[in-house]
């Protein structure tokens, strides 16, 4: 819904969130599906269009705000979480989104990303992970696998990759989730839960770059064969997946998570997922179940916990200061300290 400027509230549709700009991603890019999912979800948000802001950095993903009929800023490489933090602090009434890629968020913008999550600024960060630099034409990224041969690593990458979910958990993010570009139902469900959460929402989206890294996520992304490897995390339920949910996850005596045959170990031994667990240990262990998306991979919400929101605390301090000393009086402030008269 939005107000139409005359104070009337009107129901919006996906179309209302499509800007008049021509979408310029490569044909077949996973970004199209993400854009469609987000645009379709927006009406459900129930927030007037004018109160929604998309901020991005640089990269293929960062073009996203141009295609959304909301307020938006296409910023500088890696800085989107910082720009968005200033925006959210200035205007806690706004619904703030950051759209980023693996290079933008984890490499040049790594510092801003971790600190936004640590502060728990109220914003939804969509990180499109395609494990490659697209816009600069195919160099390895901080999520590319070791040994990856790219233009800048003709003999294979010697860089060990980040595990984005582990990183977000380590940075104290209060909401951490993973989904796939082409799984609209799951993606939408994650968005739904994310917007209901107050604080920084970090959502990793496996995104296929069909030009420079085609098939990187096929093991889980393929609509048919990939299903077997999708471990959909469901809150307060035993973790099961695979054909007929025949496989499951248990915690071994050495606190390691293991994938098992449910029949073999019995359902009672399966790990029960708890996204609200205060201690992030299990969520972290789940994130380590697969370092790269080549086999079974957990999808869904790894963690969702309540924690004070930065801009709320800022507002509180202001309210308290005003309550204690009344609203600011400039004339009085200028005269503070020792003054003297000259006549």
């Amino acid at each position: 819904m939005t107000s139409n400027g005359n104070g009337q509230v009107i129901q919006l549709t996906k179309k209302d969130f499509e800007s008049d700009q021509q979408v310029r991603w490569c044909p077949g890019c996973g970004d199209y599906a993400i854009l469609a999912t987000v645009q379709s979800f927006m009406p459900e948000l129930g927030i007037p269009r004018e109160n929604i802001v998309f901020i991005s950095g640089i990269g293929c993903a960062a073009r996203f705000p141009y295609y959304m009929e909301t307020y938006g800023m296409h910023g500088i490489h890696g800085r989107a979480p910082a720009i968005a933090s200033g925006l959210a602090v200035a205007r806690p009434d706004l619904n703030v989104w950051v759209v980023s890629g693996d290079g933008d968020a984890l490499s040049i913008g790594g510092n801003h990303l971790i600190h936004a999550m640590r502060r728990n600024v109220n914003m939804t960060i969509l990180m499109f992970n395609n494990q490659i630099y697209g816009l600069t034409k195919g160099q390895y990224s901080p999520t590319s696998e070791l040994g990856k041969v790219t233009k800048s690593t003709p003999f294979g990458s010697a860089d060990y990759p980040f595990n984005p979910i582990s990183l977000a958990l380590g940075a104290e993010a209060s909401f951490v989730a993973r989904t796939i570009d082409n799984d609209r139902a799951h993606f939408t469900e994650i968005l739904r839960k994310a917007v209901a959460h107050k604080g920084t929402k970090f959502i990793e989206v496996y995104q296929n770059c069909n030009i420079f890294n085609d098939g990187a996520f096929d093991a889980v992304r393929d609509p048919r064969s990939g299903r077997e490897n999708r471990i959909y995390l469901e809150d307060k339920k035993p973790i099961r997946f695979g054909k007929d949910e025949s496989k499951g996850v248990i915690m071994d005596s050495d606190a390691q998570l293991k994938i098992v045959d449910v029949e073999e170990v019995g359902e009672a031994r399966l790990l029960v997922h708890d996204e609200n667990a205060v201690i992030p240990g299990r969520a972290f262990a789940l994130s380590r179940l697969s370092h790269s998306p080549t086999g079974p991979v957990p999808l869904g919400i790894f963690r969702s916990v309540e924690r004070p929101v930065y801009e709320d605390l800022v507002e509180q301090q202001i309210a308290q200061a005003k309550e204690r000393g009344g609203p600011g009086d400039l004339a009085k402030l200028l005269r503070q300290g020792e003054t003297w008269e000259v006549s």
Binding site: Q21, I76, I83, G86, A90
Partner: protein, 619 residues
């Protein structure tokens, strides 16, 4: 013995001691007592970057110089006529500055063999006759302080000795007839949390006064009458304090929420500290993860409709360059405060320099003009910040404000302005409320007069739009790689900034004779020394004109005319000739520079001499 009181018209005192001796606090306190008395004054703190340099070392010496007078003064003084040296290292590093015949007060207790060795003295200067040219007062500060504090329980001897700076303050307060009530109140406030420490400092302070009054060491004290300043209410203010108050005033006078994002950096951190206290004004401060983020957050706040401000020093300005470039491109207000310090790189964090002018001017890739302002005195920092806010809001542009370490920590009396007389910033901008082009909203459709684009803030229905660093189509703001459009947009951005010259005061020239043939053109914190040097020249019947720039980009519209009106143009700067390059390039004048990059402001005498040399005046 009856003591005489001698009237003098001005004094320059320097307090010098170990970093841990509390010299800055002592100087500050003496300054406030002096200000309240109505003397005109200027101060120059000078301290090492190390928080607690090893005790007794030469590089660990911290100093605070104060010039006060019964008349209008312009600088913190070239050389002290009173030096307080708390240890041998302080004496060694400062004695060469003390005027011949000047008064030297030393803590004689600190001149033991070890301290002398640390200060690299082969012989004790108190006994080897090397101080014969001065009026030396040896005061056993340690013994006297401990004696005064006898009976206070709960403090170790080391704790007690910390109060010796208050003994010195008391002694100097007596010597120069400073009021003591304010200082006593201040001591109680400052140490209020710990009654013993407050008591110790109070006793030491009083003992210092009594020592001056009663012992035979000192035969006379001094009075310095109040200066004839404009009528009004005054307070003493440092540049960083003035910036902070200017920011609060900019928020109040614009009706906008102010968001300041910063990252700790010397000598700018005090702005962040001070502003963080003024939450009653709805001001939000953020200490970000780095300099980059703090610029970005400030820009995000401006996009949201707040007045976004970021504060830093040179090393931080390097890092903020990309955000300033983005702000140029998206055309949003952004105030960037650069408290310059000696560079390059880490340079000398606590020492002054004017090295960032060309960085502010050109330190971005592409054609990225911004407005640049420079404060000329500590109190001027207040006005310059209001002007920066006005220009940023009116022209939707980044404005870089250049202050420096000299202004930031130096202080002067400031006549408090009437709030109502401050510029009304609500007239500088308005938020867009509706379509501006045939029922559509074009985010880059410019105001014909200012060339500013509309500022449409989130929350405004119907004006949803996207901005970014990619080149935009003139008017619609859509992404455009059209070559001619880029050329046009580049010109428009340049014209917008250049057009500010119509909106700022013409450059005034100070030339009492009206017939000077030499113009001294300067900017920023050199105002005091340059004005003082010109006065000295005029006292010697040399006609000279002085013009001082506060608007560095664009320049005042008449600058070219002014420059071409003189046979000779001299540009003194605390850099290697940055304004010099700009005026030579822009106005084709054969201006000459006087340059000092020694981490300290010009002294009036050295500048006078340098000007005389340029003007070929025989001495």
């Amino acid at each position: 013995m009856a003591k005489t009181v001698q009237e003098v018209d001005q004094v320059v005192i320097r307090f010098a001691g170990d970093s841990g001796d509390g010299m800055q606090v002592t100087g500050d306190r003496f300054t406030n007592a002096t200000a309240v008395l109505g003397n005109d004054l200027a101060t120059l703190p000078d301290f090492p970057a190390e928080i607690r340099a090893p005790a007794g070392t030469l590089f660990g010496v911290s100093g605070f110089q104060l010039h006060f007078a019964d008349h209008d003064i312009l600088t913190p003084g070239d050389a002290p006529n009173v030096l307080v040296a708390m240890n041998p290292a302080a004496l060694k590093t400062n004695i060469s500055d003390l005027l011949p015949g000047g008064t030297l007060i030393v803590n004689s207790d600190a001149f033991d063999d070890r301290s002398l060795a640390k200060a690299e003295y082969a012989n004790n200067p108190l006994t080897d006759g090397s101080l014969a040219g001065y009026e030396v007062y040896e005061v056993p500060l340690n013994k006297l302080t401990l004696g005064a504090l006898e009976g206070i329980t709960g403090l170790t001897q080391k704790d007690m000795l910390r109060s010796k700076n208050m003994f010195a303050l008391g002694l100097l307060s007596w010597m120069f007839s400073r009021p003591t009530d304010g200082s006593e109140g201040w001591i109680r406030d400052k140490f209020g949390k710990s009654p013993e420490v407050a008591e110790a400092n109070l006793r030491a302070f009083r003992a210092g006064i009594a020592f001056g009054e009663t012992t035979e060491v000192f035969t006379h004290s001094f009075v310095i009458k109040p200066a004839q300043l404009d009528p009004g209410t005054y307070r003493n203010i440092t540049g960083n304090q003035a910036i902070t108050l200017g920011l609060v005033a900019a928020s109040v006078r614009s009706g906008l929420q102010l968001v300041l994002a910063g990252y700790p950096i010397t000598p700018a951190s005090d702005v962040l500290h001070e502003l963080a206290r003024h939450k009653q004004f709805g001001i939000k401060t953020m200490q970000c993860e780095d300099e980059i983020a703090s610029a970005a957050a400030a820009l995000g706040a401006s996009f949201a409709g707040s007045l976004g401000v970021t504060v830093t020093s040179g090393p931080g300005l390097d890092l903020k360059s990309e955000t300033i470039g983005l702000a140029v491109s998206v055309e949003l207000p952004l105030v960037v405060l650069d408290i310059q310090r000696a560079g390059p790189s880490t340079g000398m964090p606590t020492k002054t320099e004017q090295g960032d002018l060309l960085h502010a001017m050109f330190g971005r890739h592409g054609e990225a003009p911004v407005a640049i302002l420079a404060a000329s005195s500590p109190a001027d920092c207040f006005d310059i910040v209001l002007e920066a806010a006005r220009l940023a809001l009116k022209y939707r542009t980044p404005v870089i404000v250049l202050s420096d370490a000299f202004l930031a920590t130096g202080s002067e009396p400031w006549k408090l302005p009437d709030v109502e007389s401050l510029p009304d910033l609500t007239t500088a901008f308005e938020f867009a409320t509706g379509p501006n082009h045939e029922g559509e909203f074009w985010p880059f459709l410019r105001d014909e007069e200012t060339l500013a684009r509309p500022w449409a803030i989130p929350g405004t229905p119907g004006l949803e739009h996207r901005i970014g660093g990619i080149e935009k189509h003139d008017g619609t703001g859509d992404i455009s790689y059209d070559p001619e459009n880029h050329h046009r947009m580049t010109l428009l951005r340049a014209q917008k900034i250049a057009g500010i010259s119509k909106d700022i005061p013409r450059l005034e020239v100070d030339d009492p004779s009206g017939s000077a043939e030499t113009l001294v053109l300067a900017w920023g914190s050199t105002f005091g020394p340059v004005r003082a040097a010109c006065k000295r020249l005029r006292n010697n019947n040399v006609n000279v004109a002085h013009a001082h720039l506060r608007h560095m980009n664009p320049f005042p519209s008449n600058l070219g005319e002014v420059l071409h009106g003189y046979k000779r143009v001299i540009v003194p700067e605390n850099n290697m000739g940055q304004l010099l390059k700009l005026v030579r390039a822009e106005f084709l004048v054969d201006a000459q520079g006087i340059n000092k990059v020694a981490g300290a402001p010009f002294k009036a005498a050295e500048l006078t001499q340098a000007l005389e040399a340029h003007m070929e005046i025989p001495r």
